[in-house]
């Protein structure tokens, strides 16, 4: 039988699978299905719907709740925040890998650099210095922490041109420099870079950062003791 010839039978199949046909209609339709593979296949494909319809709540059909329009903005704002986090993580990964090559070449010093999102608290013996004599709008601060491997330096930089390369170093008592790594200042806000140098903090006289073509240096106290974490402002006029 052709599909067109089956049309009347076909159009009963909905009522058939839902059990809505009279007994006579049902028997006739069953008999047709017995002999017609196409209609049988169609009935079989509709039969599961008879099982599914009962689990729907007909009261839910009129209300198709739509999310409020501003939800899109809220999602976008959260994602934008996440994107900044992601980029920093990526940057940190890139720098860590890039610098591991440099470390192998420069066996004298272990140099690691990481841009971190939050600043863990400083421990005993830390020194906090603020760089003085800076151009208007620029602020540079550093917290130095003695570590078993040397010195950890947390640099806070604010207000310099985005993309500026900053090279950080420690100055030894004999005036020579020990590099502590580099970072690129990227954002308008305050960014903290964590750098480490193999030089012991007790052997360092000053901490410096060369930002672009300008160098800023802040002297360090010789002894690091109980008052070490207090703020201290220094000048850099003899070095810049």
């Amino acid at each position: 039988m052709t599909a067109e010839g089956c049309r009347e039978w076909r159009e009963r199949l909905g009522a058939y699978v839902l059990g809505h046909l009279t007994e006579d209609e049902r028997a006739a339709t069953s008999a047709h299905i017995e002999g017609c593979a196409a209609c049988r296949a169609e009935a079989e494909s509709l039969a599961p719907l008879a099982e599914l319809l009962p689990i729907a709540d007909p009261g839910q059909l009129t209300t198709a709740p739509a999310p409020p329009a501003e939800l899109a903005d809220r999602v976008a704002a959260r994602i934008a925040g996440e994107r900044r986090v992601k980029r920093r993580r990526r940057q940190r990964r890139r720098l860590a890998i890039g610098l591991s090559g440099a470390t192998a070449a420069a066996a004298a010093a272990t140099v690691l650099l990481a841009i971190v999102l939050s600043s863990p608290g400083t421990g005993a013996g830390a020194q906090k210095v603020n760089f003085g004599s800076l151009p208007d709008g620029v602020a540079i601060g550093a917290t130095l922490q003695p570590r078993p491997f040397g010195t950890e330096i947390r640099m806070n930089v604010h207000g310099i041109r985005s993309g500026t390369l900053c090279r950080v170093f420690l100055r030894r008592t004999d005036g020579t420099r020990m590099p502590a790594g580099s970072f690129r200042y990227r954002y308008a806000g305050t960014e903290q870079a964590v750098l480490t140098s193999a030089l012991d903090l007790s052997a360092a006289r000053a901490v410096g950062v060369r930002a672009g073509n300008r160098t800023f240096v802040a002297p360090l106290r010789r002894s690091v003791g109980a008052e070490a974490t207090s703020k201290r402002t220094t000048t850099n006029k003899e070095y810049s």
Binding site: G14, A15, L18, L61, E82
Partner: protein, 175 residues
């Protein structure tokens, strides 16, 4: 060495991808979230969290394993469970959570799929299915109400079920 550093291309590689995914799927995700959480505010939270998690895990999405929509629904499902747990931990509002409520989450998902499928089919088709199936009214009565022959009610039930079958396939029903 450099190849391992760059993020691999993925479905939610930038914010434009997220916007597109949001435009395409937020309505459905929100609908299911409302259905399962029973609260629009919580549903908004769930949708927001879903896109955030999707964004964070964007590189883990593999289009060869399934559609973005399926992936987002899998994330939402976990978010809804988490929100349900969080709500259950606050006894004052712990009413009908997916975890301890009367319907398990899988059942709610199935119900929502059928309801969403029924919303998607044409008004005429939905109408006859609601009248004849859910309200159990005789075909002749529905035909008189709608001013159409009884045979047309019958054929609309058939075409309505076919449309529902197709809609459920689109909605990922794989039963």
């Amino acid at each position: 060495m450099q190849t391992g550093i760059e993020m691999t291309e993925h479905a939610l590689a930038d914010e434009r991808d997220v916007r597109e995914a949001y435009a395409a799927h937020s309505g459905e995700l929100y609908g299911f979230a409302v259905r399962s959480l029973g609260d629009r505010g919580l549903a908004e939270e769930a949708v927001q969290e879903t896109f955030l998690r999707a964004w964070r895990a964007g590189e883990r999405f593999d289009p060869e394993l399934g559609s973005l929509r399926t992936w987002l629904f899998a994330i939402l499902r976990n978010v809804v469970i988490d929100l349900g747990r969080a709500r259950a931990a606050r006894p004052s509002v712990a009413v009908g959570t997916p975890e301890e409520g009367h319907e398990p989450l899988e059942q709610i998902l199935l119900s929502w799929q059928v309801e969403e499928g029924l919303r998607r089919i044409g008004d005429e088709h939905r109408r006859v299915l609601v009248e004849t199936y859910y309200r159990g009214r005789p075909y002749a009565e529905v035909a008189a109400d709608l001013g159409i022959p009884e045979g047309t009610v019958k054929s609309r039930v058939y075409y309505g079920l076919r449309a529902l079958r197709n809609a459920l396939e689109e909605l990922g029903y794989d039963g």
